[in-house]
């Protein structure tokens, strides 16, 4: 437990030592801010639906960029050896890195809390969907982080890790819109895999156990796959 917290703490601080963190956060805020507010006043609705609609797509690219270095860089520099020969288990390492990435995404979302604040000044904002949306955003981020970490554990090349991670996350985001390609009998199964679907359902303010189970299982599968890869490498 102690070890997980230490690893997570170190990785989290490490993000803010390098300029990447600030670049990613700035890029995220500019992108979502622009796309959200450019249509906000046209729709003339005091809610964050437009913002949350953007998140799965934006996260598909931002999160793999955040997680790509977690394993790849260590394996490339060789500090992976130092890390693994300390008294920590594979689980400690995977979980520590996962919480660091999730913490970073949470920190990235903090400035966007000003959106509901300002919107509540100009209109009558329903707090339910906003709270649900942020909870969903964290769950979605968790799922994508664990996929990104898995991608990073596969290769020592950060670019490859990024592309792999993005491809997997983006597939989950758009798969429920591609259902006309799959046979009708499988459509409901494949549709269930869509991250966007589950996320939007939470973002409506309805916390359904099916959506919770979906995101928790994505997180679990991603981390378990990472664990298996680490074991295989050793």
């Amino acid at each position: 437990m102690m070890q997980i917290a230490q690893i997570a703490g170190r990785e989290f601080k490490d993000y803010f030592i390098s300029p990447i963190a600030y670049i990613v956060i700035a890029l995220f805020l500019v992108l979502t801010g622009w796309f959200f507010f450019s249509t906000f006043f046209i729709f003339d609705r005091a809610d964050l639906r437009g913002f949350f609609a953007l998140l799965p797509t934006v996260f598909s690219f931002v999160i793999p960029a955040v997680t790509m270095r977690l394993f790849s860089e260590e394996m490339n520099v060789g500090s992976y050896e130092t890390l693994l020969t300390m008294p920590v288990t594979f689980g400690d390492i995977a979980l520590g890195k996962f919480f660091a990435a999730l913490g970073f995404i949470a920190a990235m979302l903090v400035p966007t809390l000003s959106y509901p604040l300002f919107i509540s000044f100009v209109g009558n904002l329903d707090p339910g969907p906003v709270a649900g949306g942020y909870l969903g955003a964290l769950l979605l981020a968790g799922g994508f982080c664990s996929i990104g970490i898995f991608a990073s554990s596969l290769t020592r090349n950060q670019i490859v890790a990024f592309i792999l991670g993005s491809a997997m996350c983006f597939t989950l985001t758009v798969i429920d819109k591609m259902l006309f390609f799959v046979p009708a009998s499988l459509a409901s199964w494949v549709g269930y895999l869509g991250a966007d679907l589950h996320f939007q359902s939470i973002a409506k303010g309805v916390v359904d156990s099916r959506d919770l189970i979906y995101f928790l299982s994505v997180i679990f599968l991603g981390l378990f796959a990472t664990y298996l890869v680490m074991q295989e490498k050793n």
């Binding site: 102690m2 490490d14 520099v77 060789g78 130092t82 020969t85 300390m86 008294p87 920590v88 050793n234």
Partner: protein, 337 residues
């Protein structure tokens, strides 16, 4: 030299250790033991399997087959416990390069489970021991290789482990840095069991109690430095140059001396001079000082040779002992690479 051959329980016992990378056999059926308090040098040419062996010892790699027993623990069941009693410095000390030395060591202390209130105290001790006093506030990135190596040593020594595993601790350092690192190893080595790999032979000779030479994943020698040099008696020879002598007679005279195994005549520039290399089955020049290595006999071929030549009217222009250096032994054992 300091030997510790008390037969207490061995600290590390490696049996039939084998590691395959796909089809390539990096380590082939390795077996050796390390006694408590011993400094063991692991020698071998590049690619012989030194690093792989050390990585398996420290639990970074899983052996394909074979067992490793460290004290009462064995790999892979108790890997975590072994990691707790073992300090490891990987080759070229790969550390997190954008952290401050102080932050990095603080993190290591925390992960290795040193309680918060003792951490600063421990860092102070280590900075004293490894000479990190002036660099605690600098980023690891901007340190020289020697300083990085010292930070790596501090990392390995964090919990004051009983066993220290160092992978080429002096590779790529300049002579001053090598001397510093060696001094640190010697300072901490008194109470610890140390295993380190190197391909610098003089280093192994001066710091190790025992040397294991491996080649292509196999052990080719496992002995004390002294014993390695006198492996089969062929190690010792005498070079003798004579002036105003008859080569035929000289050869006959030398052959008649007890302890001489083989005589080689060397070319010389002028007639009347001759030069021999005399291989002895008994170490010359060692009687009286250390009788362990010449089969307990006090016969010295070097002495006998001199006494025999004194009775002639030849002039000795050169008489020197040549012992086989570790370097030649190493080359002989690992030749064919």
């Amino acid at each position: 030299m300091f030997f510790n051959h008390k037969k207490e329980a061995v600290v590390i016992q490696v049996e039939n250790l084998t590691k395959y990378y796909n089809d390539f056999c990096a380590v082939d059926n390795l077996s050796f033991t390390i006694n408590p308090g011993e400094i063991l040098g692991l020698l071998g040419p590049n690619g012989a399997g030194k690093t792989t062996t050390l990585r398996m010892l420290t639990g970074f790699f899983k052996p394909t087959s074979g067992t490793i027993q460290v004290k009462d623990f064995s790999i892979p069941e108790d890997t975590l416990k072994i990691k707790q009693i073992m300090g490891y410095l990987p080759e070229s000390a790969p550390l997190y390069h954008n952290m401050l030395v102080f932050d990095y060591l603080g993190y290591v202390a925390a992960v290795k489970g040193i309680p918060r209130e003792k951490r600063v105290q421990r860092l102070k001790e280590l900075s004293e021991l490894c000479g990190l006093n002036g660099i605690m506030h600098r980023t690891i990135d901007e340190l020289s290789k020697g300083l990085k190596q010292r930070v790596g040593l501090a990392h390995a020594l964090m919990t004051d482990p009983e066993i220290l595993v160092l992978d080429e601790p002096t590779s790529g350092l300049d002579p001053n840095q090598i001397a510093e690192i060696r001094a640190i190893i010697r300072r901490i080595g008194r109470a610890k069991t140390i295993i380190f790999s190197t391909h610098i032979l003089s280093e192994a000779e001066s710091t190790c109690d025992r040397i294991v030479i491996i080649n292509r994943g196999k052990i080719v020698a496992d002995d004390t430095t002294q014993n390695l040099k006198n492996l089969d008696g062929t190690g010792a020879s005498i070079v003798l140059s004579l002036a105003d002598a008859d080569p035929e007679k000289a050869l006959a005279l030398i052959r008649g001396i007890k302890g001489v195994r083989r005589v080689e005549q060397k070319k010389t520039e002028s007639a009347g001079d001759c030069r021999f290399e005399i291989h002895c089955s008994i170490s010359p020049g060692s009687s009286g000082s250390d009788t362990n290595h010449n089969n307990g006999q006090d016969h010295d071929p070097g002495r006998a040779l001199y006494l025999a030549i004194r009775n002639t009217d030849w002039i000795i222009t050169e008489l020197s002992h040549k012992t086989r250096s570790l370097e030649t032994i190493f080359q002989e054992l690992t030749r064919g690479n």
